[in-house]
Amino acid sequence: MYGWMGTILRVDLSSGKIEREPLDENLAREYVGGRGLGMKILYDELNPGCDPLSPENILIFANGPLTLTGALSSGRYMVITKSPLTGTICSSNSGGYFPAAFKTAGYDAIVLKGKSEKPVYLWIDDDHVELRAAGAIWGKDTREADRAIKRETHKDARVACIGPAGENLVRFAAIINDASRAAARSGVGAVMGSKNLKGIAIRGTKGVRVHDPEELLRATVVADHIKKTELGEAFGEFGTPLFVDIMNANNIMPTENFREGFFEDGDEINGAEIIDRTLLRAKSCYACCINCGRNTKIPEGSKYSGRGDGPEYETCFSLGSNILVGDLDALTKMNYICNELGMDTMDAGCTVSAIMELFEEGLLNEEDIGFPMKWGDADNTIRLLEMIGHAEGFGKEAGKGGYYLAGKCGRPELFMGSKGQGFAGYHPRGMIGQALIYATSPEGGNHTTGNTIQPEINGIPEPMDPLTGKGKPALAIMRQDESAIVEACGLCVFPYMLIETGIEILAEYYTAVTGKYYTEWDIRKMGERIFNLERALNHKIGFTGKDDTLPRRMTEEPHTEGIGEGNVVHLDELLKEYYELRGWTPDGVPSEEKLAELGIS
């Protein structure tokens, strides 16, 4: 097989048994790799009713057939499991250099089951695979753990690990690889912690076979083209925080727990401010010409200190505008803390914003928390984040997530998310296509299972009014399916979903790598299969269309001013059309006919 390494590594953490299994060629052809392959393994092997934090849950690491092939931005891997945050399936993806090591060691996926009696880490040195005691490393933050594991294994090893948040089963704990990149969402780090698995270290020295290397050389040409587009230039220079300006101007930068879409201090936390104040250098993942990562340092003389990576735009929103913090140094510090403790900045932020509103409403008070949590209070937010990661005091409750906490206070609608996962930084009331994606995503409120920035904000290929529902069900479906296939291939969504010809390029790469002819239509069909599989597995767990909801704030409380004033999301109408176009039942379940058409069994 070209593209795939042909081996799945299976590790039973309860017994310590390690096995290699040849990758089933038909499985790979139908479900590709990454998110698709991982989800199919989960579909076939997961007890849908299992507690996500029990040994019964399955944790899968997977790269894709285009990972490490030379295809543009192909340094990604995914973590697939049942989420302890939402109870749904999830696929959390990350970049950096760990994915390249993962693939060159010779594996398409690592399937982890059971629970180790004592803390361990998995050391993979090409064909040599062993579980090693991690007692001395348990408790360390992700940077310390990364260093310690490298010291014990190999200086060239690449490490993915959890911090104290994962060990303490924080429901939005992340897996951090290369000491700063995060498979952040859905609590995948807590699943790893529940298995007593501190990390996975990999050193790989093998190559990937591709069918037509000459055709793949076109990657260089495409990369050169992309570098010259607005995407390449602007993101390389400003990183994703460029979105602060764009979303703020469009009145969709979530502010004060999504009450509004404009943050007055946006200029204090945007890409330009990062360049002027904290940026050390732009960073890239493996095989990427965009360099959107930010390596930063809080300047001397600030009341905060530290050095690390970030923030990305999603953190500028979640721990900035949405909690009314307009201090870049404080925001950057919060980002470092989340990275070091191993937590998703997005759900951490959506939890904090819910806490601030609950505090304002008098539903949480100083006695509950230990201190006040008022809008814009950066120092107490920093305190709270540390308490969450270390499961101390009120942090233990907050670590169960904002949806849990708001529900406990009798106001679940004050958590801004879907299926218990916080939204990304695109206000649903001002971006109706994105609202529908949030509601129907199998993983809850995230932007990686589809985003509509290109048509709704950039007007590419055709401008679509972001404030209306017209054409949005079809758009949401297209973008969700695109996202599924991009993540199954082991690619980054940026170049493939933010330039007009992204999926066309992907089809050409896929053909060159695998040696089988794939059209753009074939590629989109594979995305549709994966997305339907995810919804079908969610249905086995117990999720239906009744869970495709948005908080009342999105459907009943309008934007009060600026672009989109008076707008709300008319979700019921959108869902009806969406389910029909998907070929699902009226209650949002993939129909037998649709599953048969896609060959899902």
Partner: protein
């Protein structure tokens, strides 16, 4: 008349004053439009995705008044 212009992201290199980082005041003739202002700043229209005046959507024909704040936003992507 005096207006304030904000040039987001890569457009900020077009500020007249090198010290301007977030915005800058511009003296333009009474009755000027957004298009006139963009011409003063040599902003290429292909690099503009959204223009707002006082946080409401505007276009090159929008007439400006003293004290207006004009925000010029590039696309989030290209291709």
């Amino acid at each position: 008349m005096l207006v304030t212009i904000k040039l987001a992201g890569p457009l900020r290199k077009l500020y007249k004053e090198p010290a301007s980082r977030k915005k800058e005041e511009a003296e333009i003739p009474e009755g000027s439009s957004v298009g006139d202002l963009l011409e003063v700043y040599d902003v290429p229209l292909k690099s503009v995705r959204l223009i707002t005046v006082n946080r409401l959507k505007a276009n090159v024909d929008t007439r400006l008044s003293t004290g207006d704040e004009i925000n010029v936003i590039p696309p989030a992507a290209g291709g």
